[in-house]
C-alpha cells in the first residue's frame, strides 16, 4: 500500500507526536508514505471566514502538487486538513465560476477527483483491520478508552463522507483490534470549540470540559483523538478547566496512532508520549500487563 502524505502544519509543530506515531504505525503496517513536497497550509480555521476563494485555492494548490507526483490518493491524518481538502474539492465541483477563479489564482488545474483519505478509514477496513491484531505486542485490555471523532471528520457528512456521521465506529474498531476496551459515550462527535482556542478560549474550555466530563462519567481512563485541534483543546486546557470548574480533570488524551504504536510495542520515546501537557504515559504503564500476556491478544483474535 502506497499513499501520498499531506501532514499539514500542525503535524509539523504542535502535533508532532501525531506525525511521528502515524509514520511509525504505517511502517509497521506496511503502508508506504510519500510526503507531498512543498505542500502549503490548507487555510484551516482562518481562511474560510475571510474568503471562500482563498479557502478553496490553498487546498487545491497542494492537491495540484499531488497530481504532479503522478499519484491520485493522499492520506491526511489531521482532521482539519482532511476536512478542508474535501471541502475544496466539493466547492469546485459545485461552483463552476469558483473553479475558474481557483485556476486563475493558483495557475494550476483543479484536482477535484483525487482521493483524500483519512487513515482511520484504511485502518478500520480490510486488509489492515485483520492485520492489526497480529502485530499487538502489549496487552492493553485493562485500558478503557472512548473514541473522540469531533466535528471535522464527520461533518458535513455529504462532503467528508467519513464513516457514519451520527455514530462513527472506525476508531472504536481500531481500538478493539489492538485489544483496548472501547466504551460507548454520547460525546463522540460533539464540538470541542477548537476554532475559538485562540480567540475566545473561555468558550473552548467550556465545551472541552463537557466532553471530558462525559468521558469520566462512562468510566474512561483516556480519550483517543484523531484531530490536532481537538487534542490541543482537550489536553492543554485542563489547567484552565481547573481554574473554571474547581478540579483538574487529569484525563489523558492520546492520538489513536500513539495507542496503536504502544500496543505494537513501540517505546514511549518513539511515540513522543511525553509531549502532552496532561500526563498520558503513567496510565499506559499502569495497565500494561507484563510478560507473555500480550501474545494472548493476538491468539485470541486469530
Amino acid at each position: 500500500m502506497k499513499y501520498a502524505y499531506y501532514p499539514g502544519c500542525s503535524l509539523h509543530s504542535t502535533a508532532r507526536e501525531f506525525d511521528k506515531s502515524f509514520r511509525a504505525v504505517c511502517k509497521i503496517l506496511g503502508v508506504e508514505l510519500v510526503e507531498i513536497e512543498n505542500w502549503v497550509c490548507c487555510g484551516a480555521a482562518g481562511a474560510h471566514g475571510v474568503s471562500k476563494l482563498l479557502a478553496t485555492a490553498l487546498p487545491m494548490t497542494s492537491l495540484a502538487l499531488l497530481a504532479e507526483m503522478g499519484m491520485d490518493e493522499v492520506i491526511v491524518p489531521c482532521a482539519e486538513c482532511f476536512n478542508k481538502l474535501k471541502t475544496a474539492q466539493h466547492s469546485v465541483k459545485a461552483d463552476k465560476k469558483l473553479r475558474r477563479d481557483v485556476v486563475k489564482a493558483i495557475h494550476k488545474d483543479c484536482n477535484e477527483e483525487a482521493k483524500v483519505i483519512h487513515p482511520l478509514t484504511i485502518f478500520a477496513e480490510e486488509p489492515l483491520i485483520s492485520k492489526i491484531p497480529t502485530l499487538v505486542k502489549r496487552d492493553l485490555s485493562g485500558l478503557k478508552v472512548v473514541s473522540y471523532y469531533g466535528c471535522l471528520l464527520t461533518r458535513p457528512p455529504k462532503i467528508t463522507q467519513f464513516d457514519i456521521a451520527e455514530n462513527p465506529v472506525s476508531m472504536d474498531k481500531v481500538l478493539k483490534a489492538i485489544g483496548i476496551t472501547s466504551l460507548d459515550w454520547s460525546h463522540k462527535t460533539i464540538c470541542c470549540g477548537g476554532s475559538f482556542a485562540l480567540s475566545k478560549p473561555d468558550l473552548a474550555v467550556n465545551l472541552s470540559h463537557k466532553i471530558i466530563e462525559d468521558a469520566k462519567a462512562v468510566g474512561a481512563d483516556a480519550i483517543a483523538a484523531a484531530c490536532p485541534m481537538c487534542h490541543a483543546n482537550l489536553d492543554t486546557r485542563q489547567c484552565d478547566m481547573e481554574k473554571a470548574f474547581g478540579t483538574h480533570p487529569q484525563m489523558p488524551i492520546l492520538y489513536i496512532t500513539q495507542l496503536m504504536g504502544y500496543s505494537f510495542g513501540l517505546s514511549p520515546e518513539e511515540l513522543l508520549l511525553d509531549k502532552h501537557l496532561t500526563d498520558a504515559e503513567s496510565i499506559l504503564k499502569k495497565v500494561t500487563k507484563p510478560g507473555e500476556a500480550a501474545l494472548s491478544v493476538a491468539n485470541e483474535v486469530k
Binding site: 509543530s13 471566514g49 494548490t61
Partner: protein, 186 residues
C-alpha cells in the same frame, strides 16, 4: 405590543446577496429550529441560528450585522448536518462574516475577525502556519498580552512550537493571496 417590522425593497434583497456571495439559498429555511437545538454555542448567541436565518429572509440587515451569532459560530456544522431543508447554515455564517468584512462593518465579537486576519497574514509571510508568529500577532492586535501565557510557556517547554518559521511555499502562497484579492476586487 408587537412592533411592526419595516421591510423595504433594499432589505428584501439581503437573502439574494447572501446567495450571491456564498451560494446558499436561505429561503429554503422553514424555521423548524433543528439547527438551534443542535448548536453547541446557541446559549452564547444573541440570535439563535434559526432566528438569524429568519432575519436574513426578512432582509433585516441591521439586525443581522449587529448580531454576535455568526462570530460565535464554531463551524462545527452540526446545524448544516441537521437541516431537513439542506440549508448549509454554517456556510451562511461564513458568508455574512465575509460580507461584513467587505463592507467594512465592525463585528460584535472583534477577536474572531482579528484572528482570521492574523491567520491569513501569517500564511502570507510564512506559507505554512507559524504558531509563535500567529500568537504574537494576535496579542498585538487584541492587546491581551497575558492571556494563555502560562499554558503557552508549558507548551514551549514541551517543544510543541517551532521556534523559527520555515518559509516553505511562502512565495507561492503570497502570490495566491495577491491573485485572490485581485479576483475578488474585479
Amino acid at each position: 405590543m408587537t412592533e411592526p417590522i419595516q421591510i423595504d425593497e433594499k432589505g428584501a434583497r439581503l437573502s439574494d446577496a447572501v446567495a450571491a456571495a456564498g451560494g446558499i439559498d436561505v429561503s429554503h429555511c422553514y424555521q423548524c429550529g433543528k439547527c438551534s437545538t443542535g448548536c453547541p454555542l446557541a446559549h452564547e448567541m444573541d440570535l439563535k441560528p434559526t432566528q438569524l436565518m429568519h432575519a436574513i429572509q426578512l432582509g433585516l440587515k441591521d439586525v443581522v450585522y449587529n448580531s454576535k451569532t455568526m462570530w460565535l459560530c464554531a463551524s462545527c456544522h452540526t446545524c448544516s448536518a441537521h437541516c431537513p431543508q439542506d440549508v448549509d447554515i454554517a456556510e451562511v455564517m461564513d458568508t455574512v462574516k465575509i460580507m461584513m468584512m467587505r463592507e467594512k462593518k465592525t463585528p460584535k465579537v472583534p477577536e474572531v475577525l482579528k484572528l482570521s486576519k492574523c491567520f491569513v497574514q501569517n500564511l502570507k509571510w510564512f506559507g505554512r502556519m507559524y504558531e509563535m508568529g500567529l500568537v504574537g500577532m494576535l496579542k498585538l492586535r487584541t492587546g491581551k498580552f497575558t492571556q494563555d501565557m502560562e499554558m503557552g510557556m508549558k507548551m514551549l517547554k514541551k517543544g510543541k512550537f517551532n521556534l523559527l518559521p520555515r518559509f516553505t511555499g511562502a512565495r507561492a502562497v503570497r502570490k495566491i493571496i495577491k491573485r485572490v484579492r485581485k479576483l475578488e476586487m474585479s
